[in-house]
Every structure is written in C-alpha cells, then in structure tokens.
Symmetry: C2
Subunit: 404 residues, 2 copies
C-alpha cells in the first residue's frame, strides 16, 4: 500500500513527537500587490492525516471508489459502500475539502466583509447569514473592515485567495462602486447588504429605511404633531439620504413644512446629545424629533431630560433600528425595526442563488420596516397609534419566558 516514499519504509501509524524544523525564514518584502497577503509561512510537524488512499487500501478498493462513496454516488454497490464506510469509521477519516475543492471548483465557503462587527445589529445580520449557511453546509469567513475602504479592499482579495464561492459585503463608508474591480473579484458572486453603494447595480439586500422613516413620521403626525425636526447626520453613507427622504415624504404628504434638520458628525449618543442641546438652546424647538437612529435618540432624550423636558410628554422622540436597548430605556423608545437578521438571511439566500447561477438577473431585496410603538412618542401604551402592532414595554422578541 502507498508508502509514497520510494525507499523509506514507513513505521506504524501513530508517530508522535516528530521534531520538525522550527521557525522559517521570515522574509517580509516590499509588499508587491500580488504576493500572497500575509507573512511567511510557519508550517509545522503536521499530524499524519488519513487520506482516501488509506481508506482505499484498508477497504481493498480503489481511491476512485472511495471518492464515489464519499459523494454518495448511486453507482457503487451497497456491499462496497458498506465496506468503505466501515473503513472510514475505523481509521477516523476526516474529509479534506481543500483538496476536493482544488479539483472541483466550489469550496462551500463564502466571505462576509462587515464594516463593523461589534454593533448588535451587525451581529444579528451575521447570525442570520450563519443560519442559512449552516443549513446548506457552508461556512463563512467573517472579517471586519472597520469602515476602512482600503482594508476592505485587502480583505476582499484575501477572501479570494481562500477561494470563497462568493461574498456578502456590508460596505465601509467611502465604498465606491468600483470596489469589486479594485479587489480583482472578476466574476466572483457578490451581494451588497444593508447599505447601498452608489452606482452599484448588482444584487442588494437591505432594509427600507425610507419607508420606516415615513412610518414613524406618519405616526407622529397622527398623534397631532405639526412641528417635527430631524436629528441626523452628514456622513457619506447611503442610508442617511434614504432616511431623510422618507421623513420628508411623510411631511409632504400632509403638507407640513419640515422642522429643523440638525446635522451630526458621528451619529452616536454624544453627538445626538450635543445636537439636541444646541437645538433646545436656540429656543422654539419642535414638538417632535425624528432621529437618525436609536443611539442618536438616546442622546437626544438625555439632552431633553437635562432641560427638564420629559421625552414622550413634552417632546416626542423616535428612532430607527430597534436596538436591544430601545425597549429597555426609560422612556422606552418608539422606533422601527430594520430586521437585520432577516436581511442577513435574505442576503445569504440570494448569494447562494447567485453562486448556483451566475447569469441570473440582479435582484434587489428590500426588507419592510415594522413600527414599534413605545413611550417616547407620547402614545401611552393602551392608547396605541393606528399604525401598527405595538410592542410591550419590554420587548420580548429575544428570549423566551414571560416578560413582566
């Protein structure tokens, strides 16, 4: 049976210790763009891996037959299959997908490049993707561009080096439509998720921020508000434009003039706070504030409280995203959910369809928003707005068990 080495006889099977040559010349070069990204290899005393050849020899059949058994081909006789299965169990075989893949193409692997990994919403998105992939026997490489377009480019290249079948990209802030060209992803199947990239006309999955903003704004109008402001950003990401547009659409429908639109630089809590404080200091503030997202809304509510104004009573506040804290905050935040988990699931499914058939026409999947009415808009629970199903003060969407 295959000793492979022409002359050296092989000893037993379990061969421990195996003092391998340590280290490896560490040559770091100038960084030519096509070199394998990363550093010098640090290979090591590999354990003796059981291969198809071992199984074949043990079962007394050919390697090809074993391969057929692995792939559940109907060609092999039941008896032979049993023999081979037994041999695999006996020897503790572990399939080597890279080798298989080298010959046959598909790797059952996809890449997910996130612009941010710690935000709960992206974690949900990841989870949705993983759900679908796991069911299909895929695994995802997941990495984080940290809103850095250059890093994103590098990561896309690295994904390809690893031979992914496709990628889901949640684009970093200044992502241009050429991102895929720049990263040499010839015809790598790709899906953009969560944030639109201007000029990119391929597959996209994302929430309908505009419609969501319309929902919450309509809700405020329905509660009688006529002077509504927007606390939002100036960042170069697509969702901002969509949100602002939705906000304005709702106002226009009711022939209302837009209240002040206050910019935020970073779109975080501190920024929302600062923006709202400035607005309040200017006097004659709106009776309701639509915020870019929940986090900004938290800051806004803090500023209100500081001024002795009660959110939901003196000034209505609404957000966007329905982050976990939204239901926990007091007053609980009225907002709309962008269902990142659903977005993830749809993105994964779309990517797999694309991998399956690269030439199908591009698809855009827009996940509809759901309005979540809580207290910060002033619609006291029980008095429910007409717009949608209200959520209990403490959201129970996550864990089981009776919520108080």
């Amino acid at each position: 049976m295959q000793t492979r080495k022409p002359h050296k006889p092989r000893g037993g099977d379990a061969q421990p210790g195996q003092t391998a040559p340590k280290g490896a010349a560490r040559a770091e070069g100038s960084g030519a763009s096509h070199a394998p990204s990363g550093h010098a290899a640090a290979a090591h005393g590999a354990p003796p891996r059981v291969t198809l050849n071992h199984i074949a020899a043990y079962a007394g059949v050919s390697r090809a037959t074993v391969s057929l058994v692995l792939r559940k081909s109907p060609l092999v006789a039941d008896e032979t299959r049993a023999k081979v299965d037994a041999a695999m169990a006996e020897l503790g075989y572990v399939y080597n997908r890279r080798a298989a893949n080298l010959r046959s193409g598909a790797s059952r692997t996809i890449g997910l490049v996130l612009c941010e990994i710690t935000t709960p919403n992206y974690a949900q998105l990841t989870s949705g993707i993983d759900d679908v992939l796991d069911g299909e026997g895929y695994v995802a490489f997941i990495t984080n561009s940290e809103e850095d377009a250059a890093r994103q480019r590098r990561l896309l290249v690295r994904m390809q080096e690893h031979g992914v079948d496709g990628v889901v990209l949640v684009p970093a802030e200044d992502t241009k439509a050429e991102v895929f060209d720049d990263a040499h992803c010839g015809n790598l199947p790709r899906v953009v998720a969560q944030r639109r990239v201007e000029g990119f006309s391929g597959d996209y999955v994302g929430p309908d921020y505009g419609a969501g903003m319309e929902l919450v704004t309509e809700h405020l109008i329905g509660l009688g508000h006529r002077h509504i402001g927007f606390i939002g950003g100036v960042r170069r990401i697509a969702p901002l434009a969509e949100r602002l547009a939705g906000f304005r659409r709702a106002l226009r429908r009711h022939r209302l003039k837009s209240g002040p639109v206050v910019p935020c630089a970073v779109l975080d809590r501190a920024d929302g706070y600062a923006a709202a404080r400035d607005l309040l200091a200017a006097g004659d503030h709106p009776t309701a504030l639509v915020c870019y997202n929940d986090v900004v809304a938290f800051g806004v509510m803090l500023a209100l409280a500081e001024r002795g104004l009660t959110p939901g009573k003196d000034v209505a506040v609404v957000g966007c995203d329905d982050v976990a804290e939204a239901g926990l905050h007091r007053p609980a935040l009225t907002t709309f959910t962008t269902d990142p988990r659903v977005v993830g699931r749809e993105a994964a499914r779309l990517l797999l369809r694309r991998v399956e058939n690269p030439s199908r026409p591009p698809e855009q999947i827009i996940v509809p928003p759901r309005l979540i009415i809580r207290q910060s808009c002033g619609a006291a629970p029980g008095q429910r707005g007409r717009a949608a199903k209200a959520a209990p003060p403490l959201s129970r969407r996550r864990a089981g068990g009776p919520t108080p």
Copy 2:
C-alpha cells in the same frame, strides 16, 4: 474563456455571458458520519483563473521561479523578480491559497465556534480575535453553535474539513471535555475561551469572574451593606460557579453571612425580574443585590421600581459584564467589565502561539476584571467608593467625542 473542452482553442480574455449547465443532481444520503458534511456539490462554470503557469509563461520563466517570487525568496535575482511582478500585475493574478496549502500544510485560517453570536459581548470577543488575526494575515471561519453541543461537534468537524490551522471554542452549555475527541480533532491546536470546560486542561483564556464578583461585593460592603443577596442562575455553565464563589469569598472575608441566593432558570431580564419580585414579596429583603450579570440586574431593577423602591437608594444593585446598556440605563448600573475584546485578542494570540509550536505547555490566561462604579450601587458620583476608578455616568469607552 475556459470552455473546458479539450480541443477548442483559447480565445481572448473577456468573454461574458457563458451559459453554463444549470443545476446539479441533488443526492442526499443517509448521513454516514464520515461523508463530507453538507450537500451535493453545485459546481459551476468557473471564471478563468490566472495561475502560476500563466505568469510563468508570460514572464518567460519557470513556474518554480514564480513561486519563489511569490514567497519573497531571496534566491531570485532582482531583475527576474521585477519581470515576474510585472507579469502578475499585468495578468491580474490572485494567489490560490488552497492549492498552496494542499502542498504545504498551514492554511492561515482558524475556526471560531461561538455558543452565541448576537450577544454584544461575543461580538466584542469576535472583534478582538479578528484584530489579531488580520494583523497576522489570518482569516477566521466563524460559526454559531447556538448552545447546542451536537451542532458544536458538527461545526468542529466542518472546520477541520476546511483545514483550519486551529480553533477557538467558546463552548456551548453542556460541553464535555471530550468534545475535541468526539469531533475527531486529533492534534488540532485549540483554545477554549470565555467559559471553562470541566476536565479540559488545555489552553484557556477567560475573564476572572470570581475576582470581579469579589470586587463588586467588596464595594457594596465598603458602602456599608451587611445584608447582601445574590440573584443568579442554575445553568450548567462554569461561570456561575466562579461568580458565586467570588461573591462568597468577599463575604467570608468580612465575616458576613450570605443573604438569599435566588436561582434563575434562563438568566435573562425577565428571569431577573421574576426572581427579584419573589424575593421582595417574601419581605425582609437584603439591602443590596449582586446579580449574575447585567441583564439579570436590569430585570431586578425593574422589579424594585415596580415595588416603589429606587435602585441605588433603597436597594443597591450591581451586575457583571458591563454591557453597552449598563451605562445607559437609569440608574446607570454599577458592574465590572469582563473585557471580552481583550479575551478575544489573547485567545487569538495564544492560538497562534500554539499553532507555531504544538508542543509548548498549556497556558491559562485570566483577564482581570475592572470595577465600574455608577449609580445603581448608591455610591453617588463624586462620592466614589475606594475600590477603583469610577466611570462617568455615560460610559465613554466606545465612541470618541465629548460625553455629556
């Protein structure tokens, strides 16, 4: 191009469209344990991949030379190197790591199997791991066992099929020490993170829950509390035992008797709420409550408020983890951080060390806790406890910018 047919001559470069044979017989079998996990392949009209051979031909050198250039070997002459680099740039070469890996062993890939992916703390951990890996040119397969030991086992197998160099495991709830044997990970480098696995004596990285509990308990004692209860769980995860032990150590040191230890089944907000409500209904409640974690603490505070008790004034409440909401909640929660990002970083580093040298002795890295004093313990800001640096009411650990 690449029509795959032997006789057709090869044409130009850009040839779109490419009507490939659709579908693929979907053969689903009985599920023999050694078959490649997953389904039948769905291979497809692969894009024309540029290989070393193409580069070699274009540059007029041998494949071996190109390979040397790729790996930045000092053996090649500068002139040759330049020629090859140019050829690679010209043809748009993308390194094929799977092929390289097949021959040479190390894949620059690791697996991360999480018990839960959506919890912010695990997202932080993931982020920490990604930080380190990215710097070293590694990529991680990330998957989610959903606290399901069987699924976890499957995922570990799948990771090996993909040829990872090692795995970081955040074990699911009922993980036994044999998990790695069961998943046939012979001598796959492995690091267990965040939760201990009883009986597993390999590499481990995790926070020091015990010490953290001691910190917060000591803090409460320092504030004058003498009757302190514990709201905690009964789940079969190691951290619970550690936490309870820390709590008791602190009490013992001050010769205090433990207040009631109330079990929680699920360790979420609703459960904390229920547990606290029961405790309060029983009358004669403790003056301070140490909670299993922040989320439970939120539930507890809700129950207090419902009874007309103000957390931090009538009853002190402390948590554990310092989740993002902790600083946002009113009253802001006194807690200690378990620095999941640091845990992630250390785990990744340790794993890489282990990959580098499989025979080094096992290592246990315990990340020390940091006490975060806010309002829920009753130590009004300004009045700071003696124990540690206090945090501002709104934690500013995340985003930049001036926090109000």
